[in-house]
Structures are given as structure tokens and as C-alpha cells.
Amino acid sequence: MTLLKLNEINSFYGGIQALKNISLEVNEGEIVTLIGSNGAGKSTTLKTISGQVKPKSGEIYYKNQDLLKLPTHNIALKGIAHVPEGRKIFSKLTVKENLEMGAFSVKDKKIIKERLERVFNYFPRLRERIDQKGGTMSGGEQQMLAIGRALMMGPSLLMLDEPSMGLAPIIVEQIFEIIEQLNSEGMTILLVEQNAYQALQIAHRGYVIQTGEIQMVGEGKTLMNNEEVKKAYLA
């Protein structure tokens, strides 16, 4: 079933067009990855979905509901979690508070506790630093926190913007494992990555995006073997 569907989206920053007629689909239970070079428009695509950027034209449907008119916080309420580029940790809040912010819309204390426990299991480092202010964590620690925070929402669609950026190989490895694990537990994932090799390896499908336009669509493995993709992104 199609969970998310973008139709002919055009987004702008002031006068600059960042997305040109972007159409893409994410099916329930899939890992879909978006790859492309710097400035291609990957982050903008995610921002458009989560409502941070409002497109000039086009349609976005999530579970057959129109997202276009909704403000960001209501889109989040629908179950779309967006881990933004550059982590965007609340630097003056503690690790615990950051995580609790993720569960802002959850009323049930018990569920919050359970999710907290789960996040700590994924990232034990966060448990160690539970009372440290987010802003003083190292880059990698912050990335873990950002993902953890998104998981606290209990989303049905998790959008990750370059989660491996600045992480130690061993953590990257872990993160990809976690992504696969989350996916196997039923979570749908939209992944933006520079690390095209690893992304394509775990993705069911992938989109290649170039200067705001979709260049190619295909299964992960297929794209990985595509000569053009190899030349441009896998080097």
C-alpha cells in the first residue's frame, strides 16, 4: 500500500527553485532512499514533506490524506518523524528532556517510559549521559540523540536526513543495522544519504535526485549496479 505519495512538487527558496516536478512514492514497510550530490534537493524534499517548506505547486498524500494544508506540527502528529540534517538538538535541554520532547504528543506516561527504555537500548551512550545538556555532546552523540528523539514519537514513517554524517564507522554500521531492524519491525523509512553505497544496500528502492529533479528510480540493488550511479555516487 502506498503510504506517502508526492506528485509534481515544485519548491522554492525565495526565487530559487530547489525542487522541480518531484514525484515519488513510499510504500508501507519499505526502506526508500534518496541519493544525490550536494545541493541536489534531498533535504528540501524531506522538508517539503514535513511542512517546513511549502511547495508552490504539487500534491502530497500520506495515508491518502492531503498534507499540503497542514502546518508542520500537525504533519508530525500524523506519524511522520523527521530527523533533520545537522541534528538540531535542543542544546540547552538535557538528553532526557530532548527525548521527552520527541514524545511531546504522547499522553500516556507508560508508553513514554517504554520508548525511552527502547531508545536507551539502541544507544546506551545516551543513558550514560542522561542529564548532560544536548549542546555539549559530541557530534556523533548528538546524532544518536536526534534519532532517538524521533523514535520517541513512535512514528509510522521515519525520515532520516544523512544520519551517518560525522559518525564513526562502527556507529554508522550500527545505525544502518537499527534502520533495518526498525524496518523489520514494520516501520517505513525514507532515508537521505550521501553514503550511497550503504544506503542502497539496505534500501528496497531508491531515487536518484539531481539539481532538483528525479533522475532515476529503481530497486536498491539495481541502482547500485547502474553504471551512471556508480560513476557519479559510488566512485
Partner: protein, 333 residues
């Protein structure tokens, strides 16, 4: 005069000076809270906050006039009247604050930070003249002296505690102010630091975009902040009016300045800092104006009290640039 006589004078009046300082400080402290809250969330020095406080004082006094006109002063206990007026006024000023945010600040969220300062100054001027106009229209004079609620004097027997002290006087109005102020502060501190909405306010303060990704309705949180800050400011205005009885449309400016100083002294954005800062400034001021001339044998007088307060502020900030309670978080590079 001999040294020890000087010191005696100072010590003898100390209990009274402290009592008076605490009362003035309480007013500064709550107004400072309003500055700190708005600053904390929008990084905006909300110059209009002093005027919200002032409007609160006028609205409260207006209510008092209405109530005394209705003869309620005889039928209801004064404390009850005060509580009713406090609630009514703070709700009203809360909405005024929310309205100001909606009209004057929200359109400028993405604009450079300082331009909002301009609208804040604009709003201040506007409110001053508006209140002046209404009052003058109604009463022919904008210096307004309201009915007094609590006038009993109590004596605190500090003399019996330590014989070098003189006794201190306190009005019942002042006691009530202190109590109400402390209650308001504790409630607010709890709200900000211990509740979900308080946490949301702090999160929005740091990063609105990301907060909205966490399903936080940013506009709502900001409105809430303004409502709370302004309600608090308005309530303080009422307390001020009850304490000093006489108000004019320009009280907000001077008091706002002091309160803002207090907020900074405590570490702006920090709730507890604002409270402590308020009390410190209040007491310093009171102490300076009572004792400066005695201590300097007349070279400096009470007219230097603000110099004294500002000098202390500057000295504190030089040694602790983030204020008394601001945590020195070395920027992560």
C-alpha cells in the same frame, strides 16, 4: 560624626531597609520574570513589557474603582477583592500581551532580531499614550490615585532579636504583595521547569523549526508564553497599585528598565535568576538610598542609588558575564 555612630545608624535601620527592599525587589522580580520569559523564547527584549505592567496597574485600579463604586468594599473582605481583581486583570493583560505578539511580533519572526526591538519600542509608546488618553478622558488627570485596600501597619520586633536593630514597619498590603509574589514565582518556576508545556517553551526558545517537527504547535507555545508573561506583568501592576496607590502611564518605563536590569543580573532567560536579580536590585537600591550619604559622609547621596545599582551590575557581569545564575556553557566548537 564618629565611625561607629555611622555604622550604628546603618545597622539600626537595616531591618526596615531590608523589608522595604524586599517589597520593591518583589515587584522588580515579577516584572523581571516577564522579561525573562519572553526573552527566553524569542530572544527579544520585550520593551513593551513595562507597559503591560503599567496597563495592569491601571486596569486593576479601574476595577477597584468600579468595585468601590458598587459598594463591594463593605460587603466583601479586602483579600477576596484583591484576588478577584488580580485574576480579572491578569487575564485581560494576558490577552493584551497575546494580541501584541500576534499583531506586532509574529509578522517579524523571520526578520532580523533587532527590528523586533523597534516594534517593541513602538508598542511601548503607543500603550503609554493610549492609557494616558483613556485615563485623562475619564478622570481629567492621568496621575491616578486608587482606593486603598490594606492599610494596617504591623511592627516587626527586630529590636528584640538583636538590640542593635531598630524595629521595622510593614503595611499589610506589603505582606500580601510579598506572599502573592512568592506564590506566583514558585508556580511559574514549577511550570517552566517541571511541566510538559514548560519544556515545550524551552524547546521552542531554542529551535522553533525542530520543535514543530516534534509536533509542538509553535505559535500556540509562543502565545502561551506571552499570555503568561503578560498576565504576570499585569498582576504585578495590580500589586504595585495596591502598594503605592498612585500610578501614572510612565511607571512602566522606569520600572521596566530596573526589572530588565534585574533579569540580566540574574542571568537572562533564567527564571530563578530573574527572581534573585529582582530582590538583589531592590535591596541594593533601598540600601543605597538610605545609607549612601551616611556612609560617604555626604559626598554621595541617595541620588546615586542607581549608579550604585548599575555599578554592581556591571561588576557582577564583568566577573560572571552570564549573570548570577546563568550557567557558563562554553560554546561547543
Amino acid at each position: 560624626m564618629k565611625e561607629d555612630i555611622l555604622v550604628n545608624d546603618v545597622i539600626q535601620s537595616l531591618p526596615q531597609v531590608l523589608v522595604d527592599g524586599f517589597i520593591l525587589g518583589a515587584v522588580y522580580a515579577i516584572v523581571a520574570l516577564g522579561y525573562t520569559m519572553v526573552y527566553g523564547i524569542l530572544e527579544l527584549i520585550n520593551f513593551a513589557h513595562g507597559e503591560i505592567f503599567m496597563s495592569g496597574a491601571f486596569i486593576g485600579t479601574a476595577f477597584l474603582f468600579v468595585f468601590s463604586g458598587l459598594g463591594l468594599f463593605h460587603s466583601l473582605p479586602a483579600l477576596l477583592i484583591l484576588i478577584i481583581v488580580l485574576v480579572l486583570t491578569s487575564v485581560l493583560t494576558g490577552f493584551v500581551g497575546m494580541g501584541i505578539e500576534r499583531v506586532a511580533y509574529r509578522p517579524l519572526r523571520k526578520a532580523p532580531k533587532l527590528i523586533t526591538l523597534i516594534t517593541a519600542i513602538g508598542i511601548s509608546f503607543l500603550l503609554q499614550d493610549f492609557v494616558r488618553f483613556i485615563t485623562e478622558l475619564k478622570r481629567g488627570n492621568y496621575i491616578l490615585t486608587g482606593p486603598s485596600l490594606f492599610n494596617t501597619q504591623h511592627s516587626i520586633k527586630t529590636h528584640s532579636i538583636l538590640s542593635v536593630f531598630g524595629n521595622a514597619q510593614i503595611k499589610s498590603a506589603s505582606i500580601i504583595i510579598l506572599v502573592v509574589a512568592v506564590i506566583m514565582m514558585i508556580t511559574l518556576d514549577f511550570f517552566i521547569n517541571k511541566t510538559k508545556w514548560g519544556m515545550a517553551m524551552r524547546a521552542v526558545a531554542q529551535d522553533r523549526e525542530t520543535a514543530s517537527l516534534m509536533s509542538v504547535n509553535v505559535n500556540k507555545v509562543i502565545s502561551l508564553t506571552f499570555f503568561l508573561g503578560s498576565a504576570l506583568g499585569g498582576a504585578t501592576g495590580v500589586l504595585f497599585a495596591v502598594q503605592y496607590n498612585t500610578i501614572d502611564p510612565y511607571i512602566g518605563f522606569i520600572l521596566g528598565l530596573k526589572a530588565f536590569t534585574a533579569a540580566v543580573l540574574g542571568g537572562i532567560g533564567n527564571i530563578r535568576g530573574a527572581m534573585v536579580g529582582g530582590f538583589v536590585i531592590g535591596i541594593l537600591e533601598m540600601f543605597a538610598s538610605a545609607n549612601l550619604s551616611t556612609l560617604t559622609s555626604g559626598v554621595l547621596g541617595s541620588e546615586y542609588k542607581d549608579v550604585f545599582a548599575f555599578a554592581i551590575l556591571i561588576i557582577v557581569l564583568i566577573f560572571k558575564p552570564e549573570g548570577l545564575f546563568g550557567k557558563s556553557v562554553a560554546e561547543k566548537v
